[in-house]
């Protein structure tokens, strides 16, 4: 358990944030390996796009429409989000395919696609340690922030700086050992800002199956789902206000009144 964190007592309780909400009307993008639409835990997709690097054109090419999940990881993230926000509109942005070439710029372009297409929440259970992408991804994170889009980023499982989870404009998440999906923690020592369930989580996988898995990858979609739920009830919240609410509803938050 993280140490207590004092937060201003503004009446933003868990029930104020989430009760009666379902994610209805909120668009959520999963930037990952694709999503298996047919998996019962995913419950259908609104649309999707698959991006790849074209070495002849020397550019990123986006193909809109249905696509597979090659690995299961994107399907797992989508299933977790769906649990927290059953009525949200899910969008699959596939940025990982069979080839590794150009994956950094494909990743950045995938986030831009999600922002342009009107998603309010973007789940990024991916990151890069490539310093050459630092500036590009920083711009992308700022573009999302100013467009009112909440980027929820898993930090790398290994203690090494990775992007975009290090940036202040995003919501960065690591795994805690809670089982209650609402059990968030806020970290008094960033850059990791929040903890959410990510240890031994049962998630949907390929071919209609499910597996039990551990990692920060699976903590981020818990937060993305809760943010979608929150935005369906309080649509005018900006990314910085969303962060303030997430802090206020954390298990280790201690409300402090102003006199």
């Amino acid at each position: 358990m993280l140490p207590p964190v004092p937060v201003p007592d503004l009446g933003m309780s868990r029930s104020w944030a989430f009760d009666g909400a379902s994610g209805h009307g909120v668009d959520v993008a999963v930037v990952d390996s694709g999503i298996d639409t047919a998996h019962p835990a995913v419950g259908g997709l609104s649309d999707g796009v698959a991006l790849h690097w074209d070495s002849e054109l020397q550019d990123v090419v986006a193909v809109e429409g249905p696509h597979d999940d090659l690995f299961g990881h994107g399907t797992a993230c989508a299933g977790i989000i769906r649990r927290a926000a059953p009525d949200c509109r899910l969008h699959s942005v596939r940025v990982l395919g069979e080839r590794l070439t150009g994956k950094g710029v494909v990743f950045a372009e995938g986030v831009r696609w999600a922002v342009r297409s009107g998603c309010r929440v973007v789940n990024l259970s991916l990151s890069t340690r490539n310093e050459d992408l630092h500036s590009l991804l920083h711009d992308v994170a700022d573009e999302a922030y100013f467009a009112g889009v909440v980027l929820v980023c898993a930090i790398n499982n290994v203690r090494a700086a990775s992007y975009p989870s290090q940036y202040a404009a995003v919501v960065s998440v690591a795994a805690n050992d809670a089982t209650d999906p609402y059990a968030l923690d806020c970290n008094p020592s960033p850059p990791v800002e929040f903890g959410a369930p990510g240890i031994d989580v049962e998630v949907p996988w390929l071919g209609g199956s499910s597996i039990v898995t551990t990692g920060n990858s699976f903590a981020a979609p818990h937060v993305a789902g809760l943010v979608a739920r929150m935005l369906s009830k309080h649509p005018s919240l900006s990314p910085v206000e969303v962060k303030a609410v997430l802090r206020a509803v954390s298990r280790n938050a201690v409300p402090v009144s102003g006199r």
């Binding site: 690995f71 069979e98 499982n157 390929l206 990858s217």
Partner: protein, 253 residues
């Protein structure tokens, strides 16, 4: 007779270094990798540990080293790089921990067919140099009741770093000529004529010739044996050279 140009000399130096590299290559990279997988397996109390390397065209993962259950079945196995849990680690560069894969019937079936051992739990971490993925280190059915087991992903990544260092050293010897000249080039002042000449020479040094590399490796092996074996080998090689010289007299000496 004119003096060879600096460019020619540099290129010769690069070729010489590449040809001689196998003779001076540190021994036992493969043994070191085997020792890494075996020590990881023992430390984590795991049933098996394996290393799969990405091929140059990035299309396949080749299991080069394994220890524990199913090791014989998995060694030499080639799988498409863009699939499954190991594929995820390759394309994402992220590690993954799965406590129960048995609920994924496709995984269990394909693994059983390939190695004869179906794990329940697995940890898989990328072997990275910077942002480049060289392969995947996988641990099957570790003892997760050990104290500190919650930090196993980070700990396995330390073994992956060791693996990456071993692979890097080994591959530097495979292309020693280029590595040497590139090092000279970066030591020379950037943009200088010397730096440009060295870089030009580096790109023209061919990669190692497989036959020559093998010959140099055999010489290195003999060098580590006794003087009598070395004298015997020199006599044998001289005989072979004289014989083949008589058979193809037009070949240059």
């Amino acid at each position: 007779m004119t003096e060879p140009s600096a460019q020619d000399l540099l290129e010769d130096l690069g070729r010489l270094a590449t040809d001689l590299a196998p003779a001076v290559r540190p021994v036992g990279a493969q043994r070191l990798l085997a020792s890494i997988t075996e020590s990881a397996r023992q430390l984590f109390g795991a049933r098996a540990c394996s290393l799969a390397l990405l091929t140059d065209d990035e299309r396949e993962l080749v299991y080069t080293t394994a220890s524990g259950d199913g090791a014989d079945g998995v060694t030499g196995l080639r799988l498409p790089a863009g699939q499954g849990i190991a594929g995820w680690v390759v394309v994402s560069g992220e590690s993954v921990a799965i406590s129960d894969v048995s609920a994924d019937p496709r995984f269990a079936r394909s693994v059983a067919e390939d190695t004869g051992y179906v794990p329940r739990a697995m940890l898989a971490v990328p072997v990275l140099v910077g942002d480049q993925v060289l392969g995947v280190l996988t641990l099957l059915d570790r003892d997760d009741a050990r104290p500190g087991a919650e930090h196993d992903l980070a700990l396995l990544s330390v073994f992956a770093e060791q693996t990456a260092l071993t692979l890097q050293t080994d591959s530097a010897f495979e292309r020693l000529g280029r590595v040497l000249l590139q090092a000279l080039g970066s030591a020379a002042e950037g943009g200088s004529t010397l730096a440009e000449a060295v870089e030009r020479a580096a790109t023209s040094v061919p990669l190692a010739d497989a036959d020559l590399a093998e010959l140099a490796t055999v010489f290195a092996q003999l060098q580590r044996q006794g003087p009598a074996e070395r004298r015997l080998a020199v006599r044998l090689v001289r005989e072979v050279a004289d014989y083949s010289g008589r058979r193809s007299p037009r070949l240059p000496r």
